[in-house]
């Protein structure tokens, strides 16, 4: 697998996760710290289907989409909705998602022990790479991840721009109070955004073991990259999340690869440091994200210096 191919695969998955995170942030105003664990949920779902029923991980993508959606629904209805209706502050909601993350970590860890015991094969760390197959001169995961992202982006486009529901959803994303006055049910849009977000995360989780080893703690590790992608994109824009995912994914892959040529392969484990650096640079230069930069103004200013 070439570096570019690996970088694109990784970025595709990051985009899926970042779009989900951004969607729930726009509708409920809370950064979801459990997004990484939603992905690990998808990974374990795929592992279960593979071990028990012999279903190839690629075929479990639609199942993950559905089960992930159910998980998102449960988290929203069970945890966030009661808190929001009690008028909880954003920090309290964030702590609640941290608690959800911890509960999911506990469940995932317990389940991995159980699965390992039943199937007599370790489930605390696993990887799907042996199940991958080449398609022409490309790797299977590359083709599948590109297909998935294209399909999902197209689906999101249809949902948000071509249906009445999408119009209502975009309206309540942009201005929830005004949308509510106009008769949009903000509650529905919130619920749907959580279902979609967790569904996308679980889908990314099915594909993630083709790229890296999964342990129950993986969610807590990738969350840094997910947040970096969303913040680079401005946290409030789905298109921004798309850009941010590619920027963070590419810089993580290429910068660590180039550094490893100089300092040796031990640098490869520090790819999250790159995410953090990108995040910090972004916060200093343009805290409202890449979509908030006024390129025309920069051009205008630059015209004076020449």
């Amino acid at each position: 697998m070439s570096v570019l191919e690996g970088a694109i695969i990784y970025s595709n998955l990051l985009v899926l996760l970042a779009i989900g995170l951004t969607m729930t942030y726009i509708t409920t105003g809370v950064p979801n710290f459990a997004q990484g664990s939603f992905a690990v949920f998808g990974s374990y779902l795929a592992l279960t289907l593979l071990r028990f029923y012999g279903i190839h991980p690629y075929l479990s993508i639609p199942i993950a989409l559905i089960f992930g959606g159910v998980l998102g629904l449960v988290v929203y209805i069970g945890v966030l909705k009661p808190l929001i209706s009690r008028g909880a502050q954003i920090v309290i909601l964030m702590i609640a998602t941290l608690a959800v993350d911890l509960i999911l970590l506990g469940i995932m860890g317990a389940y991995s022990d159980y699965l390992g015991m039943v199937t007599k094969k370790s489930a605390t760390r696993f990887i799907f790479t042996p199940y991958d197959f080449p398609v022409g001169f490309l790797s299977g995961i590359f083709v599948v991840s590109v297909l998935v992202i294209a399909l999902i982006l197209f689906g999101l486009y249809l949902l948000l721009y071509k249906t009445k529901f999408g119009v209502a959803m975009r309206a309540s994303m942009e201005n929830p109070d005004l949308a509510e006055i106009m008769g949009v049910n903000v509650e529905t849009t919130r619920t749907v955004s959580w279902i979609l977000s967790a569904g996308l995360a679980a889908t990314a989780g099915v594909l993630l073991p083709f790229r890296q080893e999964i342990v129950p703690m993986t969610g807590g590790i990738i969350i840094v990259s997910i947040f970096a992608s969303s913040i680079v994109g401005g946290l409030g824009s789905i298109f921004g999340a798309l850009l941010g995912g590619y920027i963070v994914g590419m810089s993580e892959s290429f910068v660590t690869f180039n550094l490893s040529e100089v300092f040796g392969p031990s640098v490869l484990v520090y790819s999250r440091v790159i995410s953090l650096v990108v995040l910090v640079i972004m916060l200093i230069l343009a805290p409202r994200g890449i979509v908030s930069i006024k390129w025309r103004r920069i051009k205008w200013l630059a015209s004076f210096s020449s």
């Binding site: 702590i95 609640a96 506990g106 969350i223 946290l235």
Partner: protein
């Protein structure tokens, strides 16, 4: 003996978590700064002991080489010295705590810089991200505090024989925790504490009164991180080794948040109540984990049960008792007391008529 050990264990953990809880209460309970990177400051305390103090000792004794091996050499030399002269041990303890506090304050102030101006959600994300990345680097990088292997640390109480060491260490930790409690209480009842509360409630008003929010946040996080680093340093010196995995997000960020939310935000007594309740529950859970696993017939490691349980406890607190066990009370300054007394007198007069 087992019971005694259990009680000492509980006392030590109440002391350690009280220090961390108090530090978080300054930042989040009073200042409204959601520091989701608390574990980072505690880890800095551990790095101060395992990374910095160890290296200073390496230079003093002229030991060279990798920190993992060299720390063992330093430890044996230092332990012999401390066994002969208790003063060296005590000096090392105080010196270590000092370095930890300084390192905590400096790194805390430094790492809040990129997000100090931003809203609380950005703040929380950035602090969490920094904490996770630093945790990961200190786990993977062997030159910092020994990576996977960790480093050993001289035993500052080497001059005390085996069984009493635990008891004396518990006394030291409780002593420092009480000192921190006293200082923090004084600090938060001063005008500074009320300024923090004002910032939590409405930072625009504070700005309108001519206070610099960014400066205030940086100072507050520096103070909080310095205090939290003390806990990391004490824990490292108590367990005589430093390894990054002991300073995870769950144990030093999530649990402290759970404790102060349980006890009640914005009051120091609440922190103590929350910490005590949590530590007693957790130590019992850890001590009897094998019995619990057998009794329930669980097919997995009990640590996962602990995570699920405390996660659910947190959600229950947030939904059903967000104000915690003890409610926040206004600080009784002398002008407020005067006003209240006047009111009482008036009320009596009215009642007399």
């Amino acid at each position: 003996m087992a019971g005694e050990f259990l009680i000492l264990n509980i006392v030590i953990w109440i002391g350690l978590y009280l220090i961390v809880g108090l530090s978080l209460n300054i930042e989040y309970g009073f200042g409204g700064i959601p520091n989701f990177g608390r574990a980072f400051a505690v880890l800095m305390g551990a790095i101060a002991i395992g990374g910095i103090v160890n290296r200073i000792l390496m230079v003093i004794f002229g030991v060279s080489g990798q920190i993992i091996d060299a720390s063992g050499v330093v430890k044996t030399t230092m332990n012999d010295l401390i066994a002969q002269n208790p003063l060296i041990g005590i000096a090392l303890l105080i010196f270590g705590l000092l370095i930890a506090a300084i390192l905590g304050a400096v790194t805390g102030a430094l790492f809040i810089l990129p997000s100090a101006k931003l809203s609380e959600d950005y703040l929380a994300i950035t602090l969490l991200a920094i904490s996770e990345v630093v945790f990961m680097v200190s786990y993977y990088h062997p030159d910092l505090i020994g990576g996977y292997y960790g480093v050993t640390v001289p035993d500052v109480l080497r001059f005390i024989p085996g069984e009493q060491r635990l008891f004396v260490f518990a006394l030291i930790i409780v002593g420092i925790a009480l000192l921190v409690y006293y200082v923090v209480n004084r600090m938060l009842t001063s005008p500074y504490g009320r300024l923090l509360k004002a910032m939590r409630e409405n930072d625009a008003v504070v700005r309108a009164y001519g206070k610099d929010i960014m400066n205030l946040r940086i100072r507050t996080v520096a103070v909080g991180s310095a205090i939290a680093a003390l806990a990391g340093a004490l824990y490292s010196m108590f367990s005589v080794n430093v390894i990054a995995t002991n300073f995870s997000r769950v144990e030093w960020t999530f649990y402290p948040f759970l404790m102060i939310l349980l006890g009640g935000l914005g009051n120091t007594r609440g922190v103590f109540v929350g910490v005590s309740a949590f530590v007693v529950a957790r130590i019992f859970l850890i001590t009897y984990k094998f019995e619990i696993v057998q009794a329930l017939g669980l097919p997995f490691d009990p640590v996962w049960l602990e995570y699920i349980l405390f996660g659910i406890v947190m959600l229950v607190i947030l939904v059903y008792r967000p104000e915690g066990l003890l409610k926040e009370k206004p600080v009784m300054t002398s002008p407020i007391k005067k006003v209240l007394e006047k009111r009482k007198v008036k009320a009596k007069e009215v009642a007399a008529k």
